[in-house]
């Protein structure tokens, strides 16, 4: 108790020094928490955008489809596979797709593009297609000859909602397929290549013209809990058997995930440098602070204070400053993380060119919002790290000062 009183009195006596140390540590803590929150938030958003725009969290294909994506390697009893998957605990929605390629043709233009069949209601739960509607209407399961078209492809074809166009393609049985379509709705996912080359129709209609009844190229799965996706992928693989391959976004977006991991590693390197700087700044400050009191400590030792009590007093000082600064910095960092999770930073105005043009170069979803991630357990852990860093930084000065004898300390100039 006496050590606590001495520590408090010392801190109060040198208010300016205590305040600067506290401010330095609080600022570092807040910055550390917010920087991590922005990094995690932007990574998660990029992954979420890439996954949810179209690929989906989990997908099932014929095992040979990836190497040879022809019509010989499809899911031929799609209904049965869907039912098997739907029975797995933890799986939310199961939606089938048939991806094909067609030549879209108007009186003026003929352009090749993706021609994909979807189950409109189920698809709305596994991708952002419905949410990406910008004009007209989304598809329904009763639709025939209705096309849901990417805005950029619509521009190139010179069509709008209600306009007619035709398609020619190869049916699932390799027969010739063609029909007239009416544009029912336009979508914009902000993924330029996708908006520039994709059209969707109702699967039931598609099956008639493309002879693809009960056949799918992909079955897309939306898990109830994304955190459980690896276990769910293994379970789904066991259920559907070796003929099919179940992959989750960590595989389908492997390159993106790798880029994120590399970015995270660089983030850790930056943080490492940040830690070293903080450690030395606080350490030097503590060193100067302790050495300024060397004669005072010499007197304390001379009147009977043990080296252990000196260590205790200095550690309590560091602990008080650490708790106060980390608490204040942590609260500020947590507040900023929470605020910018709800109101992401809009950085479109910070780059010289049109953000959509900028993202188009990298074929990424053009999202100019930079959200933070408010993750209380992670913030607590980061606060603990900063507190430990504060305590570690005073260890060396304490060890050094205890090497002096009371006489040496009193005479120290």
């Amino acid at each position: 108790m006496i050590l606590l009183k001495m520590a408090l009195r010392e801190l109060m006596t040198h208010k300016k020094r205590s305040f600067v140390t506290l401010l330095l540590s609080a600022f570092s803590t807040g910055l550390f928490i917010f920087a991590n929150a922005i990094s995690d938030g932007s990574h998660n958003q990029l992954i979420r955008s890439s996954v949810e725009v179209y690929p989906g969290y989990m997908q099932v294909t014929n095992r040979a489809f990836e190497d040879n994506p022809g019509f010989d390697n499809l899911i031929f009893d799609a209904e049965k596979v869907k039912q098997e998957l739907a029975g797995i605990k933890g799986i939310g929605t199961v939606a089938e797709r048939f991806e094909s390629y067609a030549l879209y043709s108007t009186d003026e233009q003929s352009i090749g593009g993706m021609f994909t069949a979807i189950e409109p209601e189920n698809e709305a739960n596994v991708s952002r297609l419905r949410r990406s509607l910008v004009e007209g209407e989304y598809l329904s399961s009763d639709d025939t000859n209705a096309l849901y078209l990417g805005v950029e492809l619509a521009k190139r074809l010179g069509v709008g909602v209600g306009d007619k166009l035709s398609f020619i393609s190869t049916g699932a049985d390799y027969s010739f397929a063609a029909d007239n379509l009416v544009v029912k709705g336009l979508f914009k996912t902000k993924l330029y290549e996708f908006d520039n080359g994709s059209g969707f129709v109702n699967k039931r209609y598609f099956d008639e013209v493309m002879r693809s009844g009960n056949i799918a190229t992909h079955i897309i799965i939306n898990p109830l809990d994304v955190q459980q996706i690896d276990a769910l992928t293994r379970t789904a693989q066991q259920v559907v058997g070796k003929e099919f391959e179940v992959k989750n976004y960590k595989t389908t977006l492997e390159d993106l995930i790798l880029a994120m991991e590399i970015d995270t590693i660089f983030g850790y390197i930056t943080l490492g440098i940040f830690f070293i700087v903080i450690f030395f700044v606080i350490g030097i400050f503590a060193f100067l602070s302790v050495y300024a009191r060397i004669r005072q400590i010499g007197v304390l030792r001379a009147i009977g204070t043990t080296p252990r009590q000196v260590v205790g007093m200095l550690l309590i000082e560091a602990l008080i400053l650490g708790i106060l600064s980390v608490g204040a910095g942590g609260a500020a960092g947590a507040y900023a993380s929470n605020h910018y999770e709800k109101h992401p930073i809009e950085f479109g105005s910070l780059i010289d060119m049109d953000p959509e043009e900028y993202y188009k170069q990298y074929n990424m979803v053009a999202d100019v919002n930079l959200p933070a991630e408010f993750n209380p357990p992670k913030i607590m852990a980061e606060m603990l790290i900063m507190l430990l860093l504060n305590l570690l930084s005073v260890v060396y000065p304490i060890v050094m000062i205890n090497r002096f004898t009371p006489t040496e300390a009193i005479r120290y100039v």
Binding site: D72, L103, S105, I111, G112, T170, Y174, F176, A178
Partner: protein, 241 residues
Amino acid sequence: MRTLFLLLLFSASVWAVTPDAIIKKVEHNIQSDSGYSKITMSVTTARGERTMKMESWNRGHEKSFIKVLYPKQDRGITFLKVESTMWQYVPKIEKTIKIPSSMMMQSWMGSDFTNDDMAKESSIVDDYNPQLTAEDAKKYTVTLLPKEDAAVVWGKIVMEVEKEHYIPLRAIYYDEDGVQQRILTYSGVKVYADRYLPTVMTLVPQDKKSNKTVVTMDEVDFNAVIDDARFTKNALVRYSQ
């Protein structure tokens, strides 16, 4: 002795066949200035077999017209090729469509042939430099390498030609990395006057070895009388019936 040497040299130069000449003689066997044929195309995949019947008219390399006769649902689909441009008329949607360059590598009527095969059949002569790379008692092996600025798909085509009558035996297509992509085999040779025509062509893509497309020429007329109007866009609709 010197006279004998000169005589041998002279005779060698007279009888040596250049790769260009080999290709031209092959062309003579399989092409005509004004031809007509009835064709059966059979497409085999891992899931089954599909047969189509067609009529084809051509004027040299540059112009050709194809009409689908069978199956019933595809009857009346017509194709027109003029130089490297291709149009298609589809009765079901009553529309004439120009095949854009982006679709040229897509399958032609669900077969292993591509639109590019149909549109650029003449470019073997125009876009590739032939080199005689091997020769034995029965056949020549001619390697066709793309000319410098040629906009072609294949990195190399190796063609085997029977020596006596210049009948194509086999053509192996390689991509730009030198990987075999497909093998076209010629068989069923029939003689039409001075032409030795392989009436059966079998195309096997190397990445889908369970697939093959067999084109059989059921009827051939090398001297057909063809109206110029057949090679116009209007003909696509008119002759679709």
